[in-house]
């Protein structure tokens, strides 16, 4: 199947991206974001999970949490390429909310077919959700879960659960007699304990979630297939978030080195500063092109979606690291302080870099596809 030349990024997607950009910039400009999430620098303290539930409610009211839910299940059913545009703006604002978790859960539930529809209907009613599918070692392979299920009862711990303190529902993967199954669990169900992690990233929260004799509703016993089908969308959407955040890092740094003077000249005059920033731009643009290509493949060329999504997230992880490093370095001393807003993005990006697979992990999977196993 052929991809459309414009990545399928039509008028609706452009409008959504534009209005998301305005929404985030108006509702939570970076100084307010800093006041919200970075009030207390004490590293020994548990992270605060600063966010504004009322802004999330506004996003839900705008319909953004149901965009990836098919129309048949009460959602909007927009293509992944439109989600990429939305996620890019989310990243540009480093906006704390459970949007990515809810989108991710939607992608997986859609991949479950009819079995996913009851849970999707809850998302369509405005519930937020996140995936609880990662084990203690942080494996990004769908088959690895530390939670087990017997007779419809969950026991064990899911690790590295994103935005766990912000969501209503958990989509849990667990080993069951039938294989790897998925379960839909209320975040406040009896026996569910959310243990927040003390994390570096101030714009998200993360937890390990303990399941102690939790009665759960099975969504599917073929969780492996559903997760693997949804991974390209999950990686691509996060990669789009990285692109937006990296663009903020770039533009903020460009502004700074244009204003800050040393040796009687703006720093940006010097090629030792100018050229690395150009390299950041080039790296961002590569990732951005790969992100929209991957998203478009998920929408229109599914046989290539997996390899293109590996490319997008591998590239995005490099971009996250590179843009973060250069933004702080080019700011000099002020970039190393808590008061400078840069660290919010630096930390979000280092989190995103590893989340759902770093660059080397994605390249190793890509090599399996493009080179194959070689004896």
């Amino acid at each position: 199947m052929a991809q459309p030349d414009n990545f399928g990024f039509g008028e609706e997607a452009a409008l959504l991206k534009e209005s998301a950009r305005k929404f985030f910039a108006e509702r939570l400009p970076v100084d307010q974001l800093h006041a919200l999430v970075a009030a207390d620098p004490d590293p020994e303290k548990m992270s605060e999970c600063g966010w504004k539930p009322e802004l999330w409610q506004q996003m839900v009211d705008l319909g953004w949490s149901v965009l990836a839910v098919p129309e048949a299940a009460g959602g909007v059913g927009m293509p992944v390429v439109a989600m990429a545009g939305l996620a890019e703006e989310l990243g540009r604002a480093a906006f704390p909310c459970p949007l990515l978790g809810t989108l991710n859960a939607s992608y997986v539930l859609v991949a479950c077919g009819a079995a996913g529809e009851p849970a999707l209907a809850e998302i369509a009613e405005g519930r937020s959700a996140t995936l609880a599918i990662t084990n203690r070692e942080g494996s990004w392979n769908a088959g690895d879960a530390d939670v087990a299920c017997e007779d419809g009862v969950l026991n064990g711990t899911a690790w590295f659960v994103q935005d766990a303190r912000k969501v209503d529902r958990l989509l849990v993967s667990a080993r069951s007699p039938a294989g790897l199954s998925l379960y839909w669990v209320a975040a406040d169900a009896p026996g569910v304990t959310i243990r927040p992690d003390a994390i570096v990233d101030l714009t998200r929260d993360q937890a390990h979630v303990v399941f102690d004799q939790v009665e759960a509703q099975e969504v599917t016993s073929n969780g492996l297939a559903a997760l693997n089908a949804a991974f390209p969308s999950i990686w691509t959407t996060l990669a789009a978030d990285i692109v937006g955040a990296a663009e903020w890092q770039l533009q903020t740094t460009v502004e700074y080195v244009g204003a800050r003077k040393q040796f009687d000249r703006p720093l940006g005059f010097f090629q030792a500063v100018k050229h690395p920033l150009v390299d950041v731009m080039v790296q961002i643009d590569q990732t951005k092109s790969l992100v929209y290509n991957a998203a478009c493949a998920i929408d229109t060329e599914p046989e290539r979606a997996l390899q293109y999504a590996h490319m997008a997230k591998a590239s995005a992880s490099e971009t996250a690291a590179f843009a973060s490093g250069r933004s702080v370095q080019c700011h000099g001393g002020i970039g190393f302080t808590w008061e400078c807003f840069l660290h919010l993005y630096f930390k979000r990006q280092k989190h995103s870099q590893m989340l759902w697979g770093d660059a080397a992990w994605h390249r190793a999977r890509l090599a399996e596809i493009l080179i194959g196993e070689v004896a």
Binding site: A2, Q3, P4, D5, N6, F7, F9, A13, A14, K17, E247, L250, V254, V257, G258, R265, P266, G268, F269, F270, Q271, K274, H275, L277, V278, D279, M281, V282, D285, Q286, T287, K288, S289, L290, Y292, N293, Y308, M311, A314, S315, A360, R363, A364, L366, A367, L370, I371, V374, A375
Partner: protein
Amino acid sequence: MSDNARKDTPEQAEFRQHCREWLAQNRPDEPSVRLPQTALEIMTNEQLSYLQDWQKAAYQAGLVGCDYPVAVGGGGRTDCQRVANEEMVAARTPYFPNIIGLGMAAPTVFYHGQEALKERLLPRLFSGEDIWCQGFSEPGAGSDLASVQTFAEKQGDKWVINGHKVWTSLAHFAEWMILLLRTDKSHKYDGLSYFVVPIRSALGKGVTVRPLIKITGETGFNEVIFEGLEVDDGFRLDELGKGWQVAMTTLLHERGAGELQTPRAGGMKSKSTHANNTPNLIELARSCQRDGRPAAADPLLRDRIMQQVICEQGLNHNQRRSRVPALLDHPMRLALQNKLLASEIAQDTAALALEIEGAAASLYMGDENAPAGGQWPLCYMNSYGMTIAAGTSEVQRNILGERVLGLPKSK
């Protein structure tokens, strides 16, 4: 139906069909002579005439200059050169020899020349009968192009040119040169003017062409010395003192960022041509051994090959995204990255190929045991031509930093 055909306008669809039919009948057979990797290394008349015959045939079939007006020898079509290029590459044709004419001289003459000049020069440029070269760089003017010293002095109704140009690809075959020179020594930028000058007919009469040998051992570029060459004022492009602005048109097209799509053929697979790309890199890694197993099984090499694949794909989709305004932060942002990225990716790909070859990377084209006929060392060395010519990578980064990011000028 191919991916590209799906989105054709009616005119493009009809034209694509024409290209396919013609190419099916007329794609040339592989030549008996060995061809170099690109037109910039054409060394012999045999190589040249084989390639000229191909370009002329393609022009007469309407596959070259498609988007230029009929009056100047073009096809009078809208956005059809891209279609012809796609079909020619898909049909694996030879490349065109008049690469500087098509890519740089044609758009410059078209945008800045007088009508009579266009009508005289462009048809023979498109057909490849007149090979063109570019007189920009000088011994004292490389990255700082505006400091060229070649001087044209007005004597009566003629201009008399003296000076020295270097790195002039194809000058040994060229009929014509696009020439950036100085008509006023008191203003650096506003003292520049732009001419087209006949080279071949003036050999020994004010023009000397001397070949330079490249790092690879191949020839292909030259130095050109002007000693009192007389030319008519009608060969001037645009106004006196506007040479720098005209040169920008040339450079924009040279870097693939211009308005007019350059006619481009190629892709012919043969033992003597070799594409510097990642499918070939993967093929190489499968055939080379390292520690008793294929290099393609080595985890570190696999990782680095994937890095190259990802960069190459990123460049391809940059070109696609550059036509989607809603996903573009600045109109020139991707166009101006094109040359920098393409040349650096090619260099890194070839460098990695040498590492994959290991000890065998020492073997060059003349060695029967060389992997891939010794083409990878040649690719690697030639890649420095790409990162240096048409504005070095360092100059490209200045342009991007200043024009796109808005950083202060480094001069």
